[in-house]
């Protein structure tokens, strides 16, 4: 039987944990609100941009070239299945194309590939809510280089469709996917389609990467909010149970002591 002191110690421990999970929830919800508006605008932009880009006719890439994957995860854990859901999807995909070139964003992603023994071309970590310009430029450079080497460029990220609807996705960025129902033959391009793509490549990649990163970042905050909320609820339940147990034990001890005193007193009076 656990001693009264042990139960008390557990209660204090859980109360401390609850304070931590509660604070983490608050931090995530503040960060979430900070980027919420940005995500809305950039999602609207990227939808239109991809729609237009997909009308520019481009030659398909050679099947022989290995694709480049840019994988966007987080630095920190404690966000439910946020990283693992994405990594499961990516791992399945790249297992089919051995030798895929990978660029990782986030400590968790880097660790995952290291553990699986998969080499990455580049790794970025310690990134906050905004991608620093040098990281964006580096990513753009790598993507353009691979594209010119005839590779397709993919980005694996978590699409934010609502706090409880986080969707891990693998999006092909280059060449842009053609949309149905827009025969590009109807369009006039100035300069030529190839030159437009060349001209807009940096702009398009920059907007795409920023949008994917923001989506991943807000999804991470949402995942952590949900995880921390349920951790706090669990802590509450545990505290209730332990509190009841503590009082029960205390009552038992007092009852036992009283009955000992009473029986002792009876013994004397006899």
């Amino acid at each position: 039987m656990a001693a009264l002191k042990d139960i008390k110690r557990r209660i204090t421990g859980i109360e401390d944990l609850k304070k931590i999970t509660g604070t983490m929830y608050m931090v995530s919800s503040v960060r979430f609100k900070l980027v919420q508006k940005k995500v809305k605008y950039i999602d609207n932009l990227i939808e239109k941009l991809r729609d237009i880009m997909s009308k520019i006719p481009v030659k398909p890439r050679s099947r022989a070239s290995l694709p480049l994957f840019i994988v966007i995860g987080s630095d920190r854990g404690l966000a439910g299945g946020y990283n693992s859901n994405l990594m499961d999807m990516v791992y399945k995909e790249i297992s089919e194309h051995e030798g895929t070139k990978i660029i990782s964003l986030g400590r968790k992603v880097e660790k995952f590939f290291a553990k699986k023994g998969i080499a990455t071309v580049k790794s970025f970590k310690d990134i906050d809510s905004q991608l620093p310009p040098e990281v964006i430029n580096d990513l753009i450079r790598e993507a353009i280089k691979s594209y010119k080497d005839d590779s397709e460029i993919y980005v694996a990220y978590t699409h934010f469709a609502g706090v409880t609807r986080l969707e891990p996705k693998i999006a092909r960025v280059l060449p842009p996917l053609p949309t149905e129902g827009y025969p590009s033959g109807d369009y006039i391009f100035e300069p030529s389609p190839e030159e437009i793509l060349e001209l807009l490549m940096e702009f398009y990649l920059k907007m795409s990467i920023e949008s994917f990163y923001l989506n991943s970042h807000i999804s991470e905050q949402a995942a952590r909010m949900v995880a921390m909320e349920s951790a706090t609820e669990n802590a509450d339940e545990l505290l209730e149970d332990l509190g009841a147990l503590y009082h029960q034990r205390r009552k038992d001890i007092i009852t036992r002591e009283i009955s000992e005193i009473v029986s002792g007193a009876e013994g004397i009076s006899l």
Binding site: K38, Y41, L45, K48, L49, I52, P191, F203
Partner: protein
């Protein structure tokens, strides 16, 4: 007869029915009226002019691209802002 003009940036969105727009394209400035043919080109940073009945305004815009359809023009740019006349 007018058409719908939309300017989109990562920070904001602007939409308005207009009669004419003059865009600083990479191959030179060009004007668009309703019924223009399908057309895609790059936009260089410069001044974009929006004209409507009793309305004539200039916007400074950054590099980007534009898609022209007979009844809709979409400009996508990194940044844009209204210029004081």
């Amino acid at each position: 007869m007018g058409f719908s003009l939309e300017i989109v940036s990562p920070q904001e969105k602007y939409q308005r029915d207009v009669n004419m727009v003059i865009i600083p394209g990479v191959e030179g400035d060009f004007g668009v009226l309703a019924g223009h043919t399908h057309f895609i080109t790059g936009v260089k940073s410069g001044k974009l002019r929006v004209v409507d009945k009793n309305f004539d305004a200039y916007y400074s815009i950054d590099f980007g691209l534009v898609e022209v359809k007979p009844h809709k023009v979409t400009v996508i740019t990194e940044k844009f802002s209204k210029l004081k006349n």
